[in-house]
């Protein structure tokens, strides 16, 4: 490749502005072919090189929208499978791969980084990290992907380590312990690199950890700052935890999904998980900041600029661990920098991302725990809707109206797309529980309101009106649903939208499919034989657009027939 472009260059006579422009274009091509380092500037402008996928969510705004448009509603029926990477792992495959100049980087769960040829799926190298036996992530030994800067990849591990890896040969460059796995700390998210820092957060909300978000120097791994998601004594917000109690020290507020970044505001946004114990709020009276909140942090210092708490004093495991999606839209006649957020608690939110001002909150699924909001955007709890010893039926149920599943915003359609669990409830039971370091600290639990086995790989139990999965498309200006695409089973799949009005997603039923993003019409589907528990992504190579998605234990890529 390098030689062919070089020879083209040498044969091109350079005459006039047009030729210069063409030569510059070819130089860019050569640079790309040479696999130039991923500079901070490239990350800032990643939406200008849609052939690559340089961050977990594709771009700092986390819209999961690509301007690639070779695959269209008209020709999407001609997609065919190009290659499959079969992971040597039976864990859930939740990673979104990166693609950097023809090289794909993904994670084979729990913590093996794999470099693949994005055109053929052939493996260049694998870096394997064996997590400590003491690691105990609550909900699967999973990983959601890597970050890149320069020639370095960054992986967060389930034994709470952050590892820097040479992208060319898979050799570790540095490896730091950031928390104690035996205490329940774990990391499952893809890190996010901003400027000269790599930022991560810790999972462990079911183990009574004290969550934090922290930034590390990309060259050395030295800690640059740490923001505790539960304020300590003397810090603002500490008063939302009980006085004369150490509940705040093991109050959870984990971080397990990657944030987003607005370079103009110099703010990075992260969603914070549930307080602990999850289902019994008695030991922790108060709002329990910053659990179930979004926090806006100064990238350079980690200082809190603003926060908004979606679910004060949560008792339903309503983690706010969704990806903050940033969009610039017209809001009541004026341009506004907003954040779009479909929360696990069943409400869709629009916030001003410069100030945190609450602009809109509206249910996108059936909700019975809150009746609305006050003027400041605080949810109004419905009396009696709280876990008790007998079990209280709450909508949405424990997995939420949505969860960590990647949403998408298409500036082309102006719609916000949500992987949705519709008509879904749980019976919430409360119990007393003592905190013991390193052990689960739930204080009760949810029970299903439909028989077990209803949602299994064999799906012959579902009644018509019981839970179902859907892609729901919302108008962010009003929260009104414009259309929905219903599935028989629920879904854990993320969403990708493209510049040709396509929407890609999947579900538990083992399909990967394309919808028309304008009206939800099914345009194409492929049976990938396993649950899609990841976000699809797209890239382009040698003039050909690819779409990739993990399903079951494999990664599938598709492109148009040639």
């Amino acid at each position: 490749m390098i030689f062919s472009h070089a020879s083209v260059l040498t044969r091109q006579p350079v005459h006039g502005a047009r030729s210069i422009k063409r030569a510059l274009f070819l130089i860019v091509l050569v640079a790309a072919s040479l696999q130039a380092q991923v500079s901070s500037d490239r990350l800032l402008k990643s939406n200008q090189e849609p052939q690559n996928w340089l961050t977990y969510s594709g771009h700092y705004n986390a819209q999961r929208y690509s301007t690639l448009n070779q695959i269209t509603p008209e020709n999407v029926k001609n997609l065919e499978q190009q290659w499959i990477f079969q992971a040597r792992s039976l864990e859930k495959f939740e990673a979104t791969p990166l693609v950097v100049d023809g090289i794909m980087y993904t994670v084979q769960a729990p913590n093996d980084v794999v470099a693949l040829d994005a055109a053929t799926g052939r493996i260049f190298w694998t870096y394997s990290w064996t997590p400590e036996a003491a690691s105990r992530p609550c909900c699967g030994r999973v990983n959601r992907g890597v970050a890149v800067l320069g020639d370095t990849l960054f992986m967060a591990t389930i034994d709470a380590r952050l590892i820097a890896i040479d992208a060319k040969n898979g050799r570790p460059l540095w490896n730091i312990q950031i928390a104690a796995p035996e205490k329940g700390y774990a990391m499952t998210l893809a890190p996010l690199v901003m400027k000269d820092k790599v930022i991560v957060g810790t999972a462990g909300g079911e183990y009574g950890i004290r969550g934090f978000i922290a930034a590390y120097d990309v060259k050395t791994g030295k800690e640059a700052w740490k923001f505790y998601t539960i304020p300590g004594p003397g810090e603002p917000g500490h008063e939302t935890w009980p006085a004369n109690s150490n509940a705040w020290e093991h109050g959870g507020a984990s971080v397990w999904v990657t944030g987003s970044y607005d370079p103009a505001l110099n703010l990075t946004y992260w969603g914070i998980g549930n307080p602990g114990p999850d289902w019994n709020g008695d030991p922790r009276p108060g709002d329990n900041l910053y659990s179930c909140s979004v926090v806006a942090l100064d990238v350079d210092t980690g200082k809190l600029k603003w926060y908004y708490q979606f679910s004060p004093h949560d008792e339903f495991d309503y983690d706010a661990t969704q990806v903050p999606v940033l969009a610039d839209i017209q809001w009541q006649g004026s341009p506004r920098k907003v954040m779009l957020w479909a929360n696990r608690n069943g409400f869709f939110y629009v916030l001003d991302r410069a100030t945190g001002q609450f602009l809109l909150g509206k249910p996108f699924v059936e909700v019975n725990w809150a009746s609305g909001f006050d003027a400041k955007g605080r949810p109004q709890r419905v009396p009696g809707m709280t876990p008790n010893n007998q079990g209280t039926l709450i909508l949405p149920g424990n997995q939420g109206g949505t969860n960590w599943y990647n949403p998408s915003y298409s500036p082309r359609t102006g719609l916000f797309y949500i992987p949705t669990w519709a008509n879904y409830s749980s019976l919430y039971v409360k119990q007393e529980q003592e905190f013991v370091e390193g052990r689960t600290y739930g204080g009760g639990g949810p029970r299903n309101t439909v028989p077990p086995g209803v949602r299994t790989t064999v799906n012959n139990f579902a009644k018509e009106d019981e839970w179902y999965g859907a892609i729901r498309a919302l108008d962010p200006h009003t929260g009104e649903m414009k259309w929905q695409f219903k599935m028989t089973d629920v879904t854990d799949a993320g969403i990708l939208t493209t510049g040709s009005n396509l929407l890609f997603s999947g579900g538990r039923e083992g399909y990967f499919y394309a919808l028309d993003a304008r009206d939800g019409k099914l345009l194409w589907k492929a049976n990938v034989g396993g649950r899609v528990i990841s976000g699809p992504m797209t890239f382009s190579l040698n003039g050909r657009q690819y779409v990739a998605v993990a399903a079951g234990n494999s990664l599938f890529t598709f492109a148009l027939k040639q």
């Binding site: 079990g391 019976l427 029970r447």
Partner: protein, 234 residues
Amino acid sequence: MVFAQHEFTPADIEAGRQLYTNTCLRCHGPDGDLIKDADIGHGKFRRGSTDDDLVRVIRNGIEGTPMTSSNITEPNALIIVAYLRSMATAAGTIASGDAARGKTIFEGKGTCTSCHRVLGSGSRIGPDLSQIGGARRVVELQRSLVDPDAEIVPANRMLKLVTRDGATVTGRLLNQDAFTLQLLDSKEQLRSFSKSNLREFSFVANSAMPSYKDKLSSQELADLVSYLASLKGF
């Protein structure tokens, strides 16, 4: 019920039944009466009798017996207790029957094999009953015979569909997704359909099984129940 300290809802009892089936039934049996001197399906407990006592036994086990400690949470243990309480209340009196005579009725007068299969003989259209005695309580077996619509296990529901060309097919739904469904039809054929090729499809509201309330005498019913209760698999 004298010793119960908790009010239980029907949802608790149903959830408890599922937990009991998954964790207790193998040793205690569907009627809770397989362990000598511990007929827990009829409220006869050897170690304590309050809800809290029973929760403790379920979680901690009984030293020196096959009843080992478990990782069942306290709320889950409590709803198992809810189910045990309901079992005792609903146990009722069942007439004793003769399993051998019941087998003759099953294969003859009752024409049960026209829908059901036992140890390789009979039709596959209805549920295979080879292990039904290890899975269902005697009262449940009797109820299914006299009032088949009282409870239809979701997995056993019949589906009726009409294809675009007007053909009607009835069968037991085995699987489905957003685009397709799979069933065993009334001719015992495994069939798969694309939902886009169907005019309509829905579950049949009632059980395909007739009531035997007026078809068999009470002694014949007792014999048949005894036979079904004896079916524990190979």
